[in-house]
C-alpha cells in the first residue's frame, strides 16, 4: 500500500506549513480534494468510537486540526444562535464552545440550515462561516480573534434558500463566497485583521458550490464557469467560462481540475488560460462532488450511482448503485471511499473491487446530509443532533 500513499502525497500539497497530513482543515479536506493525505487510513471495518449530542442543526462537516475536532451548528426558533464547538478527537470531550448571534438573515430551506458552510483552518485559527454570512475567527483555544457580518456589511448579500459555500484559507487569506441572485460577491480577508484584502463582484446567481485550491490559486465555481483567483490580490489568473454546476463542486489534483460542467470537464489551467483536457457528458455529478484516487475519478450522479472513470480521458470503468438518497459528498482514504446517505447509511466502498463494492455499512439511524471528515485513522460525521467518530 505504501507506494499508493506516496502517490497521494505527490498529488496533494498541504496549503499551510502548520497543518499536518492527518489534519482535515476544511470542506473535503486538504485542498478541498476530498482525499486524505495521511498514511494512517481508517480502513473498511469501522464502528462508532463515540458520539456526542449537539444542541442545534447543521450540515457543515466537522474539521480536524491536530487532536481537536471543530464543528458548527445553529439553534433557536430562527436558528439565530450560532455555535462553534471544539471537541477532543480522542474521546469527544468538549474543550470549548462559543455561542454567537446571527447578524444576517437566517432564512433557509428546511432541508438545509444556517450551519451549512464548513469551517476551515490554517492550523493556527479556525474560521466559522454561516448561511447568515456571519464569520468568526478563533484561535484553536477558542479565543476570538475577529468577526465579520458580511450581510451587515453588504445588505443584499443573502439567499432566501440559504447559502452553503465553504471558505478556504490560503496565503494568509480567507476566501469567502457569498453568491446569490442579488448582491453576489467573493471576498479575500486578511486572516490576521479580518479586513478585506479584496472584494469581487460575482455572477448574480444563487450558488452553493465551494472553492477548491489548485497550484496556490483559489478556483471559484459558479453558473458561469470556474475562475482562478490569486488569493492575496483577487486578481484573475485564468477563467473557464463554459458554465458549471451550482451545487456539486470540482475535484482537484496537482495537475488538473475536474469541474461539473457539461457533464464533467477536465481542465489544466495555467496563467492566462484554462485549457480543456477532455469532457464527458455522462459523468454528471448530482449533489455530491467528485474525487480523484490515483488515475481514476469517481462521480456520484443524481440517481445515487457511483461511476469510476479514467482521469486520462473520462472513459467509464464501472458503475455502482449506493444506498440513497445522498446529499453529502464522498471522501476517500487509501482504496476506500466513504459516504453517508440521508437515511444514515454510512457506506464503505472498495474501489479496487472489479466492479466496485460496498463492503461495509453502518446504520447511524439519523438523517445525515453532511460530508465526512477523515483524520488520524478515524472518520467524523454529523447530523442535526449528533457528531460521531467512527474508527
Amino acid at each position: 500500500m505504501k507506494p499508493f500513499f506516496n502517490l497521494l502525497s505527490s498529488l496533494i500539497l498541504l496549503p499551510s506549513a502548520l497543518l499536518s497530513a492527518a489534519d482535515w482543515p476544511q470542506f473535503r479536506g486538504p485542498n478541498a480534494s476530498a482525499v486524505s493525505t495521511e498514511t494512517k487510513a481508517p480502513g473498511p471495518k469501522l464502528a462508532a468510537a463515540w458520539s456526542i449530542d449537539l444542541p442545534g442543526r447543521g450540515l457543515s462537516s466537522p474539521i480536524v486540526v491536530g487532536d481537536k475536532v471543530f464543528i458548527t451548528c445553529s439553534s433557536g426558533p430562527d436558528q439565530a444562535n450560532l455555535h462553534v464547538f471544539c471537541f477532543s478527537a480522542a474521546d469527544g470531550k468538549k474543550l470549548w464552545e462559543r455561542v454567537m448571534k446571527a447578524t444576517g438573515r437566517t432564512m433557509a430551506h428546511n432541508k438545509t440550515s444556517v450551519a451549512a458552510p464548513t469551517p476551515c483552518s490554517d492550523g493556527k485559527r479556525v474560521f466559522a462561516l454561516y448561511s447568515s454570512n456571519d464569520l468568526f475567527a478563533f484561535d484553536l483555544d477558542g479565543n476570538l480573534l475577529w468577526l465579520r457580518g458580511l450581510t451587515y456589511d453588504y445588505s443584499n448579500a443573502s439567499n432566501s434558500l440559504g447559502m452553503s459555500s465553504s471558505p478556504v484559507v490560503l496565503d494568509e487569506t480567507l476566501v469567502v463566497q457569498s453568491e446569490n441572485d442579488s448582491e453576489s460577491i467573493a471576498v479575500g480577508i486578511d486572516v490576521v485583521t479580518g479586513k478585506n484584502r479584496w472584494k469581487k463582484e460575482r455572477p448574480k446567481a444563487a450558488n452553493w458550490t465551494s472553492a477548491v485550491v489548485y497550484q496556490n490559486v483559489v478556483a471559484l465555481q459558479s453558473s458561469k464557469g470556474l475562475t482562478g483567483v490569486n488569493p492575496k490580490t483577487g486578481e484573475i489568473e485564468w477563467d473557464y467560462t463554459d458554465g458549471a454546476g451550482t451545487i456539486p463542486s470540482s475535484a482537484v489534483t496537482q495537475n488538473a481540475i475536474y469541474v461539473p460542467s457539461n457533464g464533467l470537464t477536465a481542465l489544466a489551467p495555467e496563467r492566462g488560460a484554462a485549457s480543456q483536457l477532455w469532457r464527458a457528458a455522462g459523468l454528471k455529478p448530482g449533489t455530491g462532488s467528485p474525487l480523484v484516487i490515483g488515475d481514476s475519478i469517481y462521480v456520484l450522479n443524481g440517481t445515487g450511482v457511483l461511476i469510476k472513470a479514467s482521469i486520462a480521458n473520462g472513459d467509464e470503468a464501472w458503475k455502482l448503485r449506493l444506498k440513497g438518497p445522498l446529499s453529502g459528498s464522498p471522501v476517500a482514504a487509501g482504496q476506500y471511499i466513504y459516504i453517508v446517505s440521508e437515511r444514515g447509511d454510512f457506506q464503505v466502498i472498495d474501489t479496487t473491487a472489479k466492479e466496485g463494492e460496498v463492503i461495509h455499512t453502518i446504520e447511524l439511524n439519523d438523517t445525515l446530509l453532511c460530508t465526512p471528515a477523515i483524520s488520524n485513522g478515524a472518520i467524523f460525521v454529523r447530523s442535526d443532533k449528533k457528531l460521531w467518530k467512527l474508527q
Binding site: L144, W146, L161, G194
Partner: protein, 368 residues
C-alpha cells in the same frame, strides 16, 4: 474597622476593575462594518476575558445600545468569563439577576443574562420565567409562553377546556414569535376562540393596487414607472399589454398576503405597485416588516427603505425588518412587486405581506 477596611478595599478593587474595563469596552463598541476596529477589539477582548466574574454585569451593560457586531464580541467575552465563573461557582448570580430585571437594559444582554442564570441555577431561571410574560424582549417571552402552552395542553388533556382556553389566551396575548402564535391560534380556533391574526401581527390589509407594468428581462425592477413619481389614484397609464390603473384591494388572508394574481391574473414578467396610508397615533420608532419572494422595493413617505432583486427563493413572515420613523398622522407606504419570467409551479406567487410593529414584533395599529 477591619470590616470597613475590607469594604474599602473591595470598593477600591471594583473601581479599579471598572476603570480597567471601560477602555476595552469602548474599543469593542467601536467595531463596525468591514472589520473596522477589529485589531483593537482583539486586544480588548483578551483583556475583558481576564476580568473577574464580578464584572459580568458591567460587561453585559457594555452591550447596551451596541451594534450587532460589538454585541457578538461582548457575547463571546461574557461566555468565556461565565464558563470559568460557573466552573468555580463564582457567577455573581444576584447582580446578573438584577441586570435581567432592569428592563432599561437592552434586550440582547438581558437574554444573555437569562441564559447565564439558566446555566448556573436552572431552578432560579424556572422561578423567574413567569415574570417574563410581558417582557420587552420577544426572545425572553418565549419561555413563559411555552410554559403556558404546556399548561394549556395539560388542562386540555384533563378535559378542562375553559382552563385550557384561558392559558392559551394568556399565552397568545404575549406571544410574538410566529411558531408559537400559529400553534396557539390553531388550538384556540379548535376551542371556538378564533384569533384575529391580522390584528395580532399588525398586517396592513387594505391597499390600492396598480399593474401591469413590464418586467421583461427583469428590467422593470430598475425602471421608474409613474407610481414612483406620483401617486394619483384616479390616473391610468399604458402598461404591459393593458392599461394600468389603480384598484381597491382588501386581503382576506389571515397572514396578510397582498396577492396581485387575484385581481390581475397570473401574469409573468410584470411589475405591480401597492399603495396605502398608515395613520399613526404618534411620531415614533417602528419597523416595517415584509415577506416577499419576488423582486421588491418599499418606500415610506417617499423615502426608499430597501430594494431586493431576488426571485422565488422563498418567503416568510418578517423576512426583512426595516427600521423606520413614523410621523404622527398619515404615513404613505408604496410597495413595488416584480414578477419574473420563470414558469415553474413554484414561481407563480406575485405577492407580499407587510406589517407595522415595534422592534419586539408587537403590532402597531393604525388610528381608526
Amino acid at each position: 474597622m477591619k470590616a470597613a477596611l475590607i469594604s474599602c478595599l473591595t470598593l477600591s478593587s471594583i473601581a479599579v476593575q471598572a476603570a480597567s474595563l471601560s477602555a476595552p469596552l469602548e474599543d469593542i463598541r467601536a467595531v463596525n462594518r468591514e472589520g473596522s476596529g477589529n485589531e483593537k477589539a482583539t486586544r480588548a477582548w483578551q483583556q475583558l476575558t481576564q476580568a473577574d466574574p464580578s464584572t459580568l454585569p458591567e460587561v453585559l451593560a457594555g452591550m447596551n445600545g451596541a451594534n450587532p457586531l460589538a454585541e457578538n464580541w461582548l457575547r463571546a467575552a461574557v461566555g468565556v468569563i461565565a464558563d470559568q465563573a460557573i466552573l468555580v461557582k463564582k457567577l455573581p448570580i444576584e447582580s446578573v439577576q438584577a441586570f435581567l430585571a432592569d428592563t432599561k437594559n437592552s434586550s440582547a444582554p438581558r437574554v444573555v443574562a437569562f441564559d447565564l442564570i439558566q446555566r448556573a441555577q436552572p431552578e432560579l431561571a424556572e422561578k423567574i420565567t413567569p415574570s417574563l410574560l410581558e417582557d420587552p424582549s420577544s426572545e425572553l417571552r418565549r419561555h413563559p409562553v411555552s410554559k403556558l402552552l404546556q399548561a394549556g395542553d395539560e388542562e386540555l388533556a384533563q378535559g378542562r377546556k375553559d382552563e385550557a382556553t384561558n392559558a392559551y389566551l394568556k399565552a397568545m396575548n404575549s406571544a410574538r414569535d410566529e411558531d408559537q402564535i400559529k400553534d396557539l391560534a390553531k388550538k384556540l380556533k379548535d376551542l371556538g376562540k378564533p384569533v384575529d391574526l391580522p390584528k395580532h401581527f399588525g398586517f396592513l390589509m387594505d391597499w390600492k393596487l396598480i399593474a401591469p407594468f413590464t418586467n421583461v428581462e427583469r428590467k422593470g425592477f430598475d425602471t421608474e414607472f409613474p407610481p414612483e413619481k406620483e401617486i394619483k389614484l384616479d390616473a391610468s397609464y399604458p402598461g404591459k399589454n393593458a392599461e394600468a390603473k389603480w384598484i381597491d384591494f382588501t386581503s382576506k388572508d389571515e397572514y396578510g398576503q397582498i396577492d396581485f394574481n387575484k385581481p390581475f391574473t397570473m401574469l409573468k414578467e410584470v411589475t405591480g405597485y401597492a399603495y396605502t396610508e398608515f395613520d399613526s397615533v404618534e411620531a415614533r420608532d417602528a419597523q416595517i416588516r415584509l415577506g416577499c419572494k419576488d423582486g421588491w422595493k418599499v418606500w415610506l413617505n417617499g423615502e426608499l427603505l430597501f430594494a431586493r432583486d431576488e426571485y422565488h427563493r422563498g418567503a416568510k413572515l418578517d423576512q426583512y425588518k426595516l427600521p423606520v420613523k413614523l410621523k404622527k398622522g398619515k404615513n404613505s407606504i408604496l410597495v413595488k412587486c416584480c414578477q419574473n419570467e420563470q414558469t415553474e409551479s413554484w414561481t407563480v406567487e406575485w405577492q407580499f405581506q407587510l406589517r407595522v410593529c415595534d422592534d419586539t414584533g408587537t403590532a402597531i395599529l393604525a388610528k381608526k
